[in-house]
Symmetry: C2
Subunit: 238 residues, 2 copies
DNA sequence: CGATGCGTTGATAACTTTCAAATTTAGTGG
DNA sequence: CCACTAAATTTGAAAGTTATCAACGCATCG
């Protein structure tokens, strides 16, 4: 089923690159990237730590994609502004996630800090050179790319579904990525969520209310969401 | 479904023989990788030419992604069946196009011949080995991947738009890819188009009718479409 | 305070799907 | 080659979903 694949790819990405992240990664999910933390260590070693204030730009569309980025703290969104003014969010990145991996010579998206964020920045050419010497780094870069592609494909599957399915999928995805626990602290606004899911903020808000009424979730504050009935949410994923 | 695998290994053995008769490659496919035809030539040389009848499976989801495929004649669709029975089409591939480039160890999509098709099949490991020796091949593989990723991202942008915008975009895309001319012969059914755009066949049909009424296109037969007003179609793209 | 930004809620309109039926096209056997 | 059946496409009417427009509540911050 669809949820399965989404969760799986997330887990792979996180297991490959994240270890300072508090959330423990179940063992079976590690098997996909067995060659340890070579990439992570390299990034720590060669990377520059940068601090970005809330809503500041990390890179812009059409800039050369010379760097790879790893979120250390805070969170990040990538996005694109369409000619009609609408904004499509490409993805959200949490501590441990790697972004900027667009596999082209220029960025096709812009990136901004959602909250104040610390980001490790590494020159791509450096990593490529390392990959030439260390096959485990090459494998991890390959695995990251495969994950990114799968993530984008999963989003396509998401976008052909109903509003309720999209929101439910989003909550499950965030739960996996932020903590794995039932209580989620969302770093992003309703508008961010709407632009990610291809909905309006009103529809997102109404859908959350409706999920709350059906006892699938609780919304103590607008940024905190508690999953009360995961099974019900999963069933909505088609 | 399973005959294919048997045929495949058969054909691979007599690979060098059958790869002589190559179809001309559309120009746009070349533009993406400037370092000549190294990759193309390698595929011709090392690939096995396979013939797939209409609607037959080329590979299935979850099979190991050991091969790369290049359409020589006919056309191909990749797709995924969702748990609710809906089908999402991942992409259409025309002569000259390369598919199966999913950048993971297993296919995440299935592939079928839309029409009777001839396909050049090359072992991925062979290409990787070649890429190790010939940087131009490596560059072309990289460029292909970047292209594929961008195509998927563009589709996300498509899926958040209205039915009219999706159909208009689809027609312009097909025009680019099939011939560049205004008259398009579509190899795929309305259902294929609908599953590609995340719409129903009725909506696709109605939208085409409406575009015809507004004189943007002509539909002499259901499979042939003539673009009468590209500008109008482009404007719909947002 | 009053202003401002964010989120929620309501009413209505626009759009897309669904279900049903008519029409055209394609394939098959006589 | 025609007739016939099956499949694909188009069209219509009704229902369902989401967007739009407008108003309201609720925090935060000068």
């Amino acid at each position: 089923m669809h949820t399965q694949t989404a969760n799986r790819s997330d887990a792979i990405r996180r297991s490959a690159v994240s270890s300072r992240n508090a959330a423990p990664v179940p063992k079976h999910q590690r098997d996909d990237a067995m060659d340890g933390h070579a990439l992570e260590q390299s990034m720590q070693l060669m990377g520059a730590m940068m601090a970005y204030p809330r809503n500041s730009e990390i890179f812009g569309e059409n800039e050369p994609a010379d760097y790879l980025y790893k979120v250390v703290s805070g969170s990040v969104r990538t996005y694109k502004i369409l000619s009609d003014g609408r904004r499509q969010i490409g993805g959200f990145y949490m501590p441990g996630d790697i972004f900027g991996l667009e596999f082209a010579y220029e960025h096709t998206l812009s990136a901004e800090a959602i909250t104040d964020a610390k980001v490790l920045v590494v020159k791509r050419s450096t990593l490529n050179a390392l990959a030439g010497h260390d096959a485990s780094i090459a494998r991890q870069l390959f695995a990251l790319t495969a994950c990114e592609l799968r993530r984008v494909q999963d989003r396509i599957l998401l976008l052909i579904k109903s509003a309720q399915e999209r929101v439910a999928s989003f909550l499950l995805e965030m739960s996996e990525r932020v903590s794995g626990a039932n209580s989620i602290e969302l770093p992003m606004s309703r508008q961010d969520i709407a632009d990610y899911l291809g909905l309006t903020i009103e529809t997102v808000s109404r859908t959350l209310t409706s999920l709350e009424c059906s006892a699938a979730i609780e919304v103590p504050t607008s940024r905190r969401i508690v999953l009360r009935n995961r099974l019900a949410l999963s069933r909505m994923n088609g």
